[in-house]
Each structure stands twice: as C-alpha cells, then as structure tokens.
C-alpha cells in the first residue's frame, strides 16, 4: 500500500518541479554572495525567520543570513548530528534547542554553510525577539563568538490575542530609535524610506501569489502539499528574498505552476513524483523533522495523505489571514508583521487557526508533530490536540520527533503511529457510511 522509505536515493532520483529548481538556484546565488561578502564589503546581518525584517535590512544593502535556515539545511544534508555532538562536547545541554547546537557546532567546525560555501561573520546580529525565547539565548551565545554589535528588538507576545496600539508603538519606537541607526552605522548608508517602500511593495506582490498557492489546497484534490511541499514554498519569503525582485518572480512562477496543476485536477508533486490519488486530507501543526524529511514525507505520501494546510508555514508570517506588507506605512507594517507571526500568537489563537483550517480546507483530521527542541511550539500541544478535536469532531494524531537531532527520529515508531492514525480515519469513515 505504501512505498518503502528510500533514504539512500540520490538527488538525481528526486522529482522536482520548476519552482524548486528556481529556488535552489536563488539560494545557491545568495550563499555565493554571502561567501564573497568579506571581499565585496556587503554587510551581513544575522537574524531569525519569525519577525525577520528583510525589506528593511536589504534597503541598507545588507545581506540577511538566517541561522535557523542553516540549521535545518544542515539537518536535511545529514550534517546536524555531528554539529550537535560538537556543541554538546563544548558544554551545551542535551535538553535544549538543537537548532542552536547545530549552529554552534557548525561554527566550531569551520562555519561551512549548507551549500558548502564558507559563511561570513556577521556585521550585525539582529535579534528580532519574536515568538521564541531561545532566540535571545542563541544570539547571546553567538555574540560571544563574534566581535560585532547586537541589536535587540522586542516583539511583544499577543498574550490576549490582539496587537495593542501601545505594543505597535513600542515596536515602531525600537525600529526608529535603535535598529535603523544600527543599520545606518553598519552599512554606512542613510535610511532610505522610498527604497524600503519599494521592497515592501515587492513583498506584498509575492505574498498575494503565495496566498493563492496556499488557498489552492481547498480544491479536491489539492494541487499542493501544504506542509512538506509548503516548506519549500515558504522558503524564499521566510528567508532572504522577501522584498526582492527575484523573490517576487519566484512566487509568480510558483503560482502559475500550481494553478496549472489545479486546472488539470492534479495532486501535489512529491519527491517520488505526482501523487496519484488523494486519500486523506490533513492539517499539520508543528515543524517537520528535517533529518529524515524525505522519509517522513514518504510515510504520508505513500498512503495518499496530503497536507492541505499547516501552521508551521506561518511562522514567518500569517499571510493567508489577510496580512500584507503595506508600503504606505513602512515601520507600522513591519511591526504588524512581526507581531502576527504564528509562534507569537497565543494558544487560543493557534487553536482557532487549526479549527479554521480543518473546516475551510475540509480536512479529515489533523496531525501534530511535536518536536523536542521547541518549547515555543510544543508546550501546550497536547491541550491543543484535545481542544481542536472537541471543536471540530475530527481526529487528531500526535507524533514526537525533533528538528535536527537525528537521535530523536524513530522511523519505525512514527510510521506505526501514522498508519494507526490513518486507519482510525478509515474506521471513522466506515462508521459514518455504515
């Protein structure tokens, strides 16, 4: 019924559509540019995915570099286990975030990035403190390794489910009083609001196209996989390419591609080729495991299970709920963006989002991948499971793994759970039709 896991398959065998190839080329170019930064003198700004301020950073001619992306890429390329071991050898606890340890380990072993190029030292650590406590410690740790300034930008948590005008002002004040002067100093350029507005307009354009792609999953069969495929779709907009021409072009191509598939009634592209039959429509909560990403995807794709929506793909922005970067209000819109990232929402808000996805995308159920590394995501997920089940009447599944620590991906256990979960959906269906 399902296809066997094929971790040993070479990259040549993996089915890729055009947008994926395009993205790979964009990333390769970006990392080459980063490698050359010490010679070209382009300032490098390290920052995080949630609450990233790429439009602003790029308006100063700076290059963004995102340690989380490096960590997950290292996980996908089988390098993270050694990096984590290196960090633990240096005294980092086995209990804490493996993204951090992967990054520290990579740094301690030469700082060769995921694409094989050397990563430049940061000229600025932009600590955009959005929805994750560990971010603060991560850059405190990195700061010890680099002789560069750190700017702290506090994004208040949406504890009561809304962004208050006072919190918005607090963020704008910090942007104006702290971050912009720091970027001016690092880049040697004055703040150019017109340039920022142009970048924001490009972001909004890309966001429109991304949302069209995400919404396409409402169709049956869904032309996309919104979790495993979704992490590729959000790659450019979550990282260095929001607010750029090439980012906007990527999303234009992606949208065309997905709309063409939807028009033909085709299912999503998986690493093993187009999915022939959509048997289960699922909503996913939590980040994926990266070290066995393809095996993990295969466990679902092999059973005809498709993700029609996921929360993880909203950690870098909740565009499908209407947010767009607004060139008319450059700093205010950046504050709105940061505040609205998924892990900055309170638990009732996260439950609401899952319920809405299940209803709007007509899902058969939802599955939580709870990762050991990430308390921001994981703490409370068992309660979310019960709440969502209660409100939707749809069954929830619960899997445990990790982000990039290969020791915590137990393929046999996870596969068993996935199969049992899908059988439960089958049983419910049978019960309804009986």
């Amino acid at each position: 019924m399902h296809k066997p896991a094929d971790a040993g398959r070479s990259e040549r065998d993996v089915y890729k559509d055009r947008s994926m190839v395009l993205q790979k080329e964009m990333i390769a170019r970006h990392f080459e540019r980063l490698e050359r930064a010490p010679e070209t003198k382009e300032p490098v700004v390290y920052t995080f995915v949630p609450g990233n301020l790429t439009e602003l950073v790029r308006s100063f001619g700076c290059l963004p570099l995102l340690p989380e992306i490096n960590a997950l890429q290292s996980g996908m390329r089988g390098k993270s286990g050694d990096y984590i071991a290196e960090a633990e050898k240096a005294g980092h606890s086995e209990d804490v975030c493996t993204y951090v340890k992967c990054d520290i380990g990579m740094l301690k072993t030469g700082n060769i990035g995921p694409t094989g190029t050397r990563l430049p030292k940061p000229d600025l650590l932009l600590l955009s403190y959005t929805g994750c406590y560990t971010f603060m410690k991560w850059f405190e740790l990195l700061r010890e390794e680099y002789d560069c300034p750190t700017v702290f930008l506090q994004i208040p948590y949406q504890g009561d489910g809304t962004l208050s005008p006072e919190h918005r002002k607090y963020m704008e004040d910090q942007l104006r009083e702290t971050l912009i002067p720091a970027l001016e100093k690092v880049s040697g350029r004055p703040y150019d609001e017109d340039r920022l507005r142009r970048n924001l307009a490009l972001s909004a354009q890309a966001e429109d196209d991304l949302v069209a792609v995400l919404h396409s999953a409402k169709q049956k069969p869904s032309p996309i996989d919104a979790y495993f495929g979704g992490v590729y779709y959000v790659g450019p907009i979550f990282s260095a390419f929001r607010g750029t021409e090439e980012g906007a072009e990527y999303y234009r191509v992606l949208r065309q591609e997905v709309e063409a598939r939807a028009a033909q009634g085709l299912g999503p592209i998986t690493p093993d080729g187009p999915l022939e039959e959509e048997k289960y429509r699922l909503v996913f909560e939590g980040p994926p495991n990266w070290t066995s990403f393809r095996d993990f995807w295969g466990m679902f794709a092999g059973e005809g299970a498709v993700s029609v929506a996921s929360t993880y793909t909203k950690v870098g922005g909740t565009y499908d709920f209407g947010f767009r970067h607004d060139p008319e209000d450059p700093l205010g819109t950046l504050a709105d963006y940061c505040s609205g990232c998924y892990t900055n929402l309170n638990l009732p808000g996260r439950v609401d989002m899952l319920v809405k996805y299940i209803e709007e995308y007509q899902a058969d159920g939802f599955l939580i991948n709870s990762v050991k590394s990430c308390n921001s995501f994981s703490a409370g997920q068992l309660m979310m499971l019960r709440e969502v089940e209660k409100r939707t009447g749809q069954p929830g599944g619960f899997i445990e793994s990790d982000l990039v620590d290969p020791r915590y991906f137990s393929a046999a256990n996870i596969k068993n759970r996935v199969e049992s979960y899908l059988q439960m959906i089958d049983a419910r269906r049978a019960g309804k039709t009986a």
Partner: protein, 388 residues
C-alpha cells in the same frame, strides 16, 4: 519568637499545597481576592495596591502526586507546569481570582494560553516584561503594561487604587526587599547562622502570606538568628545558579549544605528581590516602578543581557560579592533559560579560575545521593586545592 517557631510556621506554609493561609486570609473578609503569579518577576505592588493578596505559584514540589498534569505535557518539558496544572485541576488554586504569567520562558508563556482555555472566567494575563533597557522606550512600554494589569486587576478586585495607594504598596515592598537584602547579607556574612534551608522556607512563606506579615516574621527571624547562633563549620562557600523558576526540592538544598557547602548566594525565588534597589516614592508611581525595573533589575537568564561581556562577568562578580569559593549550577531539567545560559556563565566563571560543578534536578527529585556525592567532592576539592 524562637528560630524553631518561625521555621515551623514557614514549613507549615511551604508544605500546605491547599494554600490554607490564602484561604483563611480570603475568609476573613468575603470581599477579598487573591492573584496568583508564576515565576520569575511580577510587580507585586500592583495586586497589593488593588487590595489583593499576591500568591506565588511555585509548583507542587516533591509532595504532589501528578495525576492529571502529565496528560498536558510531553516528557521533554520541565516539571513545573505539570504540577501547576495538577494544583489547578485538583481544585487547589480555585481561590484565585486572577493569575499572572510573566515572560520567563515559552513554557510559562504557553501555560498562560492553556489557562485562558481551561479557566475562561478567570482574569489571566501574560506579562511581557521589557527586555529593552533603553530608558525612555523601555519605561514607556513597561509603564503601559503595568497600567493595563492594574486596570484588569482593579476590575477583578473592585478597587481602583489611587496613586497614594500605589505609593503605599511600593513603600511596603521596598521594606520587604530591604528585609530580604538584609537576610541575604546576613547569610553571606554568617552562613552558619542562616542555613539556606531556613532562609528558603522563610522566602517560600513570603510567597503566600501578606507582605506585612512576611516583614514581621523576617525581622523576628533575624533577631532569633543573632540570639540563637549556629555552629560555624569548615564548609566551602558556594553560589547556586539556575534555580530561579522551577524550585529544587528542599531535600536538595539540605543535601548541598550537609555535603559541606555553605550557600552564600543563590537565585532561588528570585522574583522577590528582582528589583535590587528601592523604588522611588515621589512622582508617578507606575513611572517609578517602570524606571526601577529598567535601572535596577537584577541580572538573570530571563532578561536580555545587553553588556557584550555580561554573561562572562556575571558569576565572577557574584562570587566576588559573596566571597564564595565556587559555583554550583543547579538547574531544572529542560529549563531553557538556565541551560542555555549555562555554557556562557560557566565559561566566564572558569576563565576567572572559579571551580564549578553542574547538575540537573526536577522539583520532585527524590534521590539525593548523587547530589550529595557531587557536592561533597566539590566541597572537598575546594578545601584541598582551593578556588581562585
């Protein structure tokens, strides 16, 4: 009052997981309300000024059987939230009219959302303390946050405090902080007269009784400690770091002391002394509280360290102030703030020639043999080979 009677009083409060003292305080006047808070820092002056009893919720320790709490958390999440949930689900916190969740870590942050879902009729507030230490921006934010909490709690209690009410509360908490500083100084100077087990019990009592009563008992304890001195031992002097949120079992504190260590500084129950200096009593009281936080909050894993070399220096500074010989890193398992900080702090301490050991615990740890051996060996090694 004798030392023993004061400690008996404190121990009874510490062991009472039904919060009987809070319930009695509430029963004395039917209009009274109590506001719970989780670690680490909440401006207790605000619930106090609203006429409420601030009540520290520090989990169930090693005396609470977890029946329901484990169903809420995966195995890789610290123990504190599951025992807090257990307390709540078993009705032990049903006397609280409000609960405040400070921005200590993502687990406590998310617990605020769970509370909102579990107890929709309760006033539940996540409290984002300022991480930005720019005076103008940080105080403006924190003042606004506190004002919002004040309005929320005033609605619950039915009493909107005036500026004078707030000043009065600030004044009484200034006295409490001054008392705590005096107790800590006394232990630092004469640790044989202020065993940490006793100091800790007194601090825990301060989390559940009215602040006025705590001040009175603290003064009585200091007096008793002078009148009934302990016997000086040839112990090593250590700073304990990493225990600011989930509290270690009392047995662990006793074990460290019995293994030959005088604890001369610690971060247990840090919230009661988070502000290191008096809060001004003139001007706008919320401005004064906000300003005190930005200017005089203690260095902690839960607050961004703005000094580039701050983490490196922190323990060397603490060790010097406490005249300590070494550092014991004692952190709860899966505690992000403490465990992510540890490599930086330890590296800095060891670079200054300070001996360190590290272990992890859970609030319900029941076996102390390994801690006894580790702490005992540490104390002996300091005696044999010295520290700095």
């Amino acid at each position: 009052m004798t030392r023993a009677s004061i400690i008996d009083w404190a121990r009874t409060l510490f062991e009472d997981l039904d919060f009987g003292s809070v319930r009695r305080w509430l029963a004395e006047n039917p209009g009274r309300k109590a506001a719970g808070y989780l670690p680490v820092y909440i401006p207790r002056e605000i619930p106090h000024a609203c006429g409420m009893l601030p009540v520290g919720i520090h989990g169930g320790g090693d005396h609470l059987e977890i029946i329901k709490g484990d169903a809420f958390y995966q195995s890789y999440i610290c123990h504190l939230p599951r025992s807090v949930i257990e307390l709540a689900q078993s009705g032990r916190l049903d006397m609280l009219s409000a609960v405040l969740f400070p921005s200590t870590c993502d687990v406590i942050r998310n617990l605020s959302g769970m509370w909102q879902m579990l107890y929709p009729d309760l006033y539940v507030r996540y409290v984002d303390v300022p991480q930005v230490l720019d005076h103008e921006v940080g105080t403006a934010f924190w003042r606004e946050e506190m004002h919002s909490i004040l309005c929320g709690l005033a609605e619950v209690s039915g009493h909107m405090p005036s500026d004078d009410d707030l000043r009065q509360s600030i004044s009484i908490y200034n006295q409490a902080r001054s008392e705590i500083r005096a107790l800590y100084a006394m232990r630092r100077d004469e640790p044989w007269n202020v065993p940490t087990e006793e100091l800790y019990l007194l601090m825990r009592a301060g989390e559940v009784v009215p602040v006025e009563q705590f001040i009175e008992m603290s003064r009585a304890y200091r007096k008793a400690a002078v009148e009934e001195p302990g016997r000086m031992r040839d112990n090593s002097r250590v700073v304990v770091n990493g225990s600011f949120c989930e509290q270690p079992p009392l047995g662990l504190i006793k074990t460290i002391e019995r293994a030959g260590c005088y604890i001369v500084d610690d971060d247990l129950l840090l919230g009661n002394r988070f502000l290191t200096d008096d809060v001004a009593l003139d001007g706008d009281p919320l401005d004064a509280l906000a300003s005190a936080f930005i200017e005089h909050s203690c260095k902690s894993s839960v607050i961004y360290e703005c000094r580039q070399d701050g983490k490196k220096k922190l323990l060397a500074e603490k060790v010097e102030q406490a005249k300590a010989d070494g550092v014991i890193f004692a952190a709860p398992s899966f505690c992000d703030p403490a465990l992510l900080d540890r490599p930086m702090l330890r590296k800095g301490a060891e670079a200054s020639g300070i001996p360190c050991i590290a272990f992890k615990y859970a609030e319900n740890s029941g076996q102390f043999q390994q801690f006894r051996e580790q702490a005992g060996t540490f104390a002996d090694s300091i005696k044999l080979w010295g520290g700095q």
